[in-house]
C-alpha cells in the first residue's frame, strides 16, 4: 500500500476542503472551447495558477495562499481539446453521457429536471447536449484577492481567445445573467437551513492532512469509535486514480495510465434550498413532535449546531457541548487558550466525528433514515450483527465521497422558497456510478438498505407531491420505551437541482499534457 502520495501532482481541491483553511469565498467559472489550439493555450496559461495538494504548514514554511484555483473538464471539454478518441473511449458511460442524461438514476426529475436549471446548462440549440466544457474554481480569503485572480484569468482568456466564458447563472435578482457562480460561507459555518456543515470528510491514506481527522473520517475498525483505535484511513484509490482502492485492486480509469493517475471525477451540483418550506416544516412538525430543534436534528442526524445525535441525544446536552466547543474555539483561535483548554478543545472536536451507530441499533437516537446516517452509514449496515461482514464498514467503505463546496446566496425572507439561496456542492470520487450515483440513487432516493422500503432522505430526497400539491415525503422517527415513534408525512422536496455536470479533475502532469496536446495512448 503506497503511503506517500505525490501531493504536488494532485490538484488541491481533492485533498483540501478549502473551507477548513479559511477560504470563505468562491467563484465558479465555466467555459466552452471554440477552437482546440487556442483552448489548449488557455489551459496552458492557467496551469501555473492551479493549486496543488502540497501541504500548507508552518513547519514546511509554506503559507496558505490568498487564493486557491482548480480546473476540471467535462467529456465534451476533453474532446474539444483534442484528447485522443482512444482515451475518451476509456471513460465510463456515465461520464461520457454527462449528468443530465443520468437524471432518471439521480432523481433529477420533476422540479430537478434540467429544464428548470440555470440557462448556462441548457444550450439554446440543444438543451440535451453537454455544452459546458471547462470549470475553473477560484477560492479566496477575501473578495479583493478573489477578484484579482478572476481578473487575471479573464485577462488570459482575452489574450488567447478561442474559448467562451459562459454566462447564465441565476442570481439574486432572478435573472440568469451572472458570468460566474458566486459562493460564500455563511456566518457560523452553516448552510441556509441552519445546519453546521462540512464537519466530517473522508480521510484517505497519504492525503497529508492532520491525522486527527482519521477519526470519523476514515473507515471503522470495529474497536471503540470514540477513540483513534476505532478508525483507520481509507485507501487512496477510492478518491485518486492510480492507487490501490478498498477492493484490493486499482480503480478503472481511462488510459494511458499517466493520463488518469492522480486525477479524479468532480460532480458539480447547484442545489437550491427551499428555505421557506424547510422553516415551515420544522415549525409545524416541531410543534407536534415536541421540539423544533430536536425535530430538525432527527431529519439530519446532527443537531443544527453540529453535535451528532448518537452522542448527544438531548437538546440540553447538545447545546452545552456546542457552547463549550464554541467558547474554546474562540480562545484557541485568539491564542488565549491554556494548555488544558487546548487539550479540552481537541477532545470536544473529536466528539463531532468520533462515533458509530453500534450503540443505536434501533435508531432511537439517530433515525435510520436521517440524512447523515444514510449518506455515511459507518458500520450501521451490519445492523448490530457483530462480525457479519469481513469488516464493519464493508458496505460503506466504497461509497464514501469527498464533499467540497460552499453555500451561495442569501436568505432575504425565511418564509419564501424563491430567493437566491442554496449550496454549490462538489463531490469527488473515482467512480461516479459506484460512489456518487449509488449514494444518490440507493441511499438518498430509496430506502431498502436501511429497511425503509421506498422512503427517501428527508432533507435532499426528491419527494414529489400528492394530487393536492402536498409533499409526499415521509420519515419514521424512531421511538423507544418512553416515547412512541413519530411518523412524519407531508415532507416536500427541500432541495432542488438547478444545474451541474460531471467533470474530470486531471493531475498536474495530465493538465500539462492536455495543454500541450501530448496525450497519446499508443
Amino acid at each position: 500500500m503506497i503511503s506517500e502520495l505525490d501531493l504536488e501532482d494532485i490538484q488541491g481541491n481533492i485533498v483540501k476542503a478549502y473551507g477548513r483553511y479559511g477560504f470563505p469565498l468562491a467563484r465558479f467559472v465555466f467555459y466552452r472551447v471554440e477552437d482546440a489550439e487556442k483552448g489548449r493555450l488557455f489551459v496552458q496559461r492557467v496551469t501555473p495558477l492551479v493549486t496543488t495538494s502540497a501541504p500548507w504548514s508552518k513547519k514546511l514554511k509554506v503559507d496558505i495562499p490568498a487564493v486557491a484555483i482548480n480546473i476540471a473538464f467535462t467529456y465534451e471539454g476533453l474532446k474539444s481539446l483534442d484528447v485522443p478518441t482512444d482515451t475518451l473511449h476509456g471513460f465510463p458511460d456515465e461520464f461520457t453521457m454527462g449528468m443530465k442524461a443520468r437524471r432518471a438514476i439521480l432523481g433529477d426529475t420533476g422540479p430537478n429536471h434540467y429544464k428548470h436549471w440555470d440557462s448556462i446548462w441548457n444550450h439554446p440549440d440543444d438543451p440535451t447536449a453537454q455544452s459546458v466544457h471547462i470549470l475553473i474554481g477560484i477560492n479566496g480569503k477575501s473578495d479583493k484577492a478573489l477578484d484579482a485572480c478572476y481578473q487575471e484569468i479573464c485577462g488570459i482568456l482575452e489574450q488567447t481567445g478561442g474559448v467562451t466564458q459562459l454566462k447564465g447563472h441565476r442570481g439574486p435578482n432572478g435573472a440568469e445573467d451572472l458570468e460566474f457562480q458566486p459562493a460564500n460561507a455563511l456566518a457560523g459555518g452553516t448552510e441556509h437551513f441552519g445546519y453546521a456543515d462540512g464537519i466530517s470528510s473522508p480521510y484517505f491514506e497519504g492525503c497529508g492532512e492532520d491525522p486527527r481527522y482519521i477519526v470519523g473520517g476514515g473507515k471503522p475498525t470495529g474497536q471503540d469509535p470514540a477513540s483513534p483505535k476505532g478508525w483507520e484511513p481509507l485507501a487512496a484509490g477510492e478518491f485518486v486514480f492510480g492507487h490501490p482502492d478498498e477492493a484490493g485492486g486499482f480503480p478503472e480509469a481511462p488510459g494511458p495510465p499517466l493520463f488518469s493517475r492522480n486525477g479524479t471525477y468532480l460532480v458539480y451540483r447547484k442545489l437550491h434550498e427551499n428555505v421557506g418550506s424547510f422553516n415551515a416544516l420544522i415549525e409545524e412538525e416541531g410543534k407536534k413532535f415536541g421540539s423544533k430543534e430536536w425535530f430538525a436534528a432527527k431529519l439530519s442526524g446532527r443537531w443544527r449546531n453540529g453535535a451528532p445525535l448518537v452522542s448527544f441525544p438531548t437538546e440540553e446536552g447538545a447545546n452545552r457541548f456546542a457552547a463549550e466547543l464554541g467558547m474554546l474555539k474562540g480562545k484557541v483561535h485568539n491564542k488565549t487558550a491554556t494548555e488544558a483548554e487546548t487539550q479540552r478543545y481537541r477532545e470536544l472536536q473529536l466528539k463531532l466525528t468520533a462515533f458509530d451507530y453500534t450503540n443505536d441499533n434501533d435508531g432511537a437516537r439517530c433515525p435510520f433514515g436521517s440524512h447523515t446516517r444514510r449518506n455515511n452509514p459507518r458500520s450501521a449496515l451490519e445492523f448490530g450483527v457483530k462480525g457479519a461482514f469481513k469488516t464493519p464498514g464493508a458496505l460503506s467503505n466504497r461509497r464514501r465521497i469527498l464533499r467540497r463546496g460552499l453555500p451561495y446566496g442569501k436568505v432575504e425572507d425565511a418564509t419564501r422558497n424563491d430567493g437566491d439561496h442554496g449550496i454549490v456542492m462538489m463531490i469527488l470520487n473515482v467512480d461516479l456510478s459506484r460512489q456518487f450515483e449509488f449514494v444518490q440513487e440507493q441511499w438518498i432516493n430509496y430506502g431498502n438498505d436501511f429497511k425503509l422500503a421506498n422512503d427517501r432522505d428527508p432533507l435532499v430526497g426528491n419527494h414529489g407531491s400528492d394530487e393536492n400539491g402536498r409533499g409526499a415525503g415521509r420519515m419514521v422517527i424512531e421511538g423507544d420505551t418512553n416515547k412512541p415513534p413519530y411518523f412524519c408525512s407531508g415532507i416536500p422536496t427541500l432541495v432542488e437541482t438547478r444545474g451541474g455536470d460531471y467533470f474530470f479533475v486531471p493531475s498536474m502532469t495530465c493538465l500539462r499534457m492536455i495543454a500541450r496536446g501530448l496525450v497519446d495512448p499508443t
Partner: protein, 226 residues
C-alpha cells in the same frame, strides 16, 4: 432434500431443445431453428409482469427461463468442450411440493407450456398432466444448496401480507397524532376495509408492477368490487 427449504421448493429443469427447424414455425419465424423459436416465444410473445403466464401459476414466487447454448470456455489451458444440445433452463422458486405445483402449472397455462416445450426432445410423449409431471421430473436437476432469504409462505399469504403492510403504512402516517377515540375508530374502519383474515381480497395481484393497479378485490362504496 436439497430441493426443499421449509415450504419453499427450488425446481431446476433443463429441457433439451430439438435440433433443426420446426415443421410448423410461429408467425414471422419461418426457417428459424427450434432454439430461435423458443427464444422468440420467451422474449417477444410472452407478456411480462402481471400479464406473464407465470402469474397465473399458483404459488409461484419467482421464476425464469433462459437458454443454455453451451458450456463456458475458461480459456487455455482448460478444456474446450461443447454441449450437444441447447437447453431451455427453467428455474423456479415456489411454495409447496413438486407434483401439485406442476399440476397447477399444467392446469393454468397448458397452451403456453405446449408452445414452449413442443420444441424440446421427448415432449411429444406428453399428453396430459401426469405425463407432463413425468417429463419435468426427467428433466429436473437436483438442487445442491438452496438458500431461502425470504419467507416460505403461500404466495397468496405473501401478497396479502404485502397489501396489509402497504395499507398499514398509509394508516400509520395518516393517523399520527390523532386522539385515542379517533384512532380507534379509524383502525376499525381500516380492519373492515382491508379484511386481514380474507386472503382472497383485497390483496395485491401477482406480478403487479405499479401501485395504481396493484390492489384487487377492493370494494368501492356501493359499486361492488373492482
Amino acid at each position: 432434500m436439497a430441493n426443499q427449504s421449509g415450504n419453499a421448493y427450488a425446481l431446476t429443469a433443463l429441457f433439451p431443445i430439438l435440433h433443426g427447424v420446426p415443421t410448423k414455425c410461429p408467425e414471422g419465424m419461418e426457417g428459424q431453428t427450434h432454439t430461435a423459436c423458443v427464444r422468440h416465444l420467451l422474449q417477444d410473445v410472452l407478456r411480462v409482469s402481471e400479464d406473464s403466464p407465470m402469474a397465473r401459476v399458483p404459488d409461484t414466487y419467482l421464476s425464469r427461463f433462459c437458454i443454455l447454448l453451451d458450456v463456458p470456455y475458461q480459456g487455455a489451458p482448460t478444456v474446450l468442450e461443447h454441449l450437444k444440445s441447447n437447453y431451455l433452463v427453467f428455474e423456479v422458486n415456489f411454495h409447496g411440493t413438486l407434483e401439485p405445483w406442476l399440476a397447477g402449472m399444467w392446469k393454468a397455462i397448458e397452451p403456453e407450456v405446449r408452445s414452449l416445450l413442443q420444441n424440446c426432445y421427448g415432449f411429444d410423449k406428453v399428453t396430459d398432466c401426469a405425463s407432463f409431471i413425468d417429463y419435468v421430473k426427467k428433466c429436473q436437476i437436483e438442487t445442491t444448496f438452496f438458500f431461502e432469504g425470504s419467507t416460505d409462505e403461500p404466495v397468496a399469504v405473501q401478497l396479502k401480507n404485502l397489501y396489509l403492510k402497504q395499507e398499514f403504512s398509509h394508516f400509520v402516517f395518516a393517523n399520527q397524532g390523532k386522539s385515542a377515540a379517533e384512532l380507534k375508530a379509524a383502525f376499525e374502519e381500516f380492519v373492515a376495509r382491508t379484511q386481514p383474515d380474507n386472503l382472497e381480497a383485497p390483496t395485491w395481484r401477482p406480478g403487479a408492477y405499479q401501485l395504481e393497479t396493484a390492489t384487487v378485490g377492493r370494494k368501492v362504496m356501493g359499486a361492488g368490487t373492482q
